[in-house]
Amino acid sequence: MIPVSVTRDDVAHVAKLARLAMSEQELDQMHGYFEAILEHFAKLAAVDTEGVEPTSHPLARANVTREDRVTEPMDRTKLLANAPLADGECFLVPQIMEDE
């Protein structure tokens, strides 16, 4: 079954899952958008897909493997140059565990 409506609380829950902070006004706007796009999604309910295999990918491919080879790693200085915060050797990220 294709749900045809969504509550503002549902939208707030999805924003949390998507890691997107939203103001009350943004949630209202996003809720309006969801209501509108769901109308289009609901059209799919009319299609008989009994026994139809899903297409996850346009090419029918099995696993692709290659030889394991030692190659040059990317340059650390270059990579760290794009970091919001780094100490020259490592990315610096917020602490996620309490101090002992």
Binding site: V14, L20, A21, M30, Y33, I37, V47, P54, H57, K78
Partner: protein, 496 residues
Amino acid sequence: MADDIGLLNRPAHELAALIRSGEISAVAVTEASLARIEALNPTVKAFLTVTPDLALEAAKATDDALARGEELGPLAGVPIAIKDNLCVDGVLCTCASKILDGYRAVYDATVVERVKAVGMPIVGKTNLDEFAMGSSTENSAFFVTHNPWDLSKVPGGSSGGSAAAVAARMAPLALGSDTGGSIRQPASFCGITGLKPTYGRVSRYGLVGYGSSLDQVGALAADCVDAALLTAVIAGQDPRDTTSADVPVPDYVGELTGDVTGLRVGIVRELMGEGIDPEVRESVLTVARALEGMGASTGEASIPHIDYALPVYYLIGPAEASSNLARFDGMRYGHRTKERAADHIEMYSRTRAEGFGPEVKRRIMTGTYALSAGYYDAYYLKAQKVRTLLRLDVEAALGQFDVLLSPTTPLTAFGIGELVNDPIAMYMADICTFAANLAGVPGLSVPCGFTKAGLPIGAQFTGRAFEEGTILRVGDAYQRATSHHTSLPDLLGAGG
């Protein structure tokens, strides 16, 4: 200077021939391209970044190779513009998003490596809808690109910067990416030729991912010969992209015989009726008549499930986008919030809220919703099953016909600001192009006329998987008989 401007109005294959014969240096061609960017980019705003040093160095290398008596490839010395979602080592790669403002690519995309290897100078990175999500390039976080044919109109999108750059001949060629129409639709709006290759034909390594089962890199060009030459450069398997196909790359230019005798052209019934601008429909029918005149046969083709292409695309594309864009968390690169956050989750959420624009948020949200517990079967799985039916429709139509013909877009270029507040109306701009991405087959847009208001109209040829050569041959045959593709915007001045 006047000579230089005339020079750049030539197609890439002619420029390359002049360079090979020594009539003009690659440096002079690149300087002409950079001069035209300087002159026109403040008005058209096609480029986010211009790379004169990189371009001139490559041009000089081509001139030196020629001086040493080396054999030059068919596009050596021809300047190229690159959509800003493709990595060029050491150059800014923003995807027109604030979340990547200031980010410098740390390696070359495979397609970039390949254009460099054949001696093509990269003149800059072009504007796009943020992360390639949009149909007008108005979703760029930085500025709006203007259509060279009418500066009050959008260039289309998402490869709007690349299309405008070629239409204004700031660069003879450009690379774009196409997930639901993002090469073909702006090519149509800007009166140029654009090819979305078969899924797997071109490596996606170094393309910032949007919808990974739909994305494909392709050429924006002045004509089909140039599109064939550039596609030959970028096509082929790449060990760094496991979805690139192990299928030999044919001689695309060799396939441009001009002969379409006996070719069966199917006009897609569902894309010729309601919702299609009558001027566009008439113009596409003239393409059918022209091909008949050259010995092709035409008939009515049908893609019965095409009405479902929009909901299928807006479920699958955003679902894949929500997963691809999860990597932008402000930890290793890109924007990180300056606000104090209670924990890392809040830091991610604020970083992403500040970094992404409204359309990207809409797609991340719908994608997350479609993949979330309880909705996966109803939305994502259902969309994948309808995708199968659409794919089978396209395959059946291409069993009956060699190529399918339709408009590239239902309407011609719309006004800047006209649809920005109605995202779903904007989505309709791509209703003719979704099917090729969902089915994984190649699609080509060629200019086929102008509206009374002087805006370009595009015709779309859709072909069988890995048969880019066939649609290019039809497009080229049409261009040999017509001159729409050689028309230039007034912006370039008379007599160019």
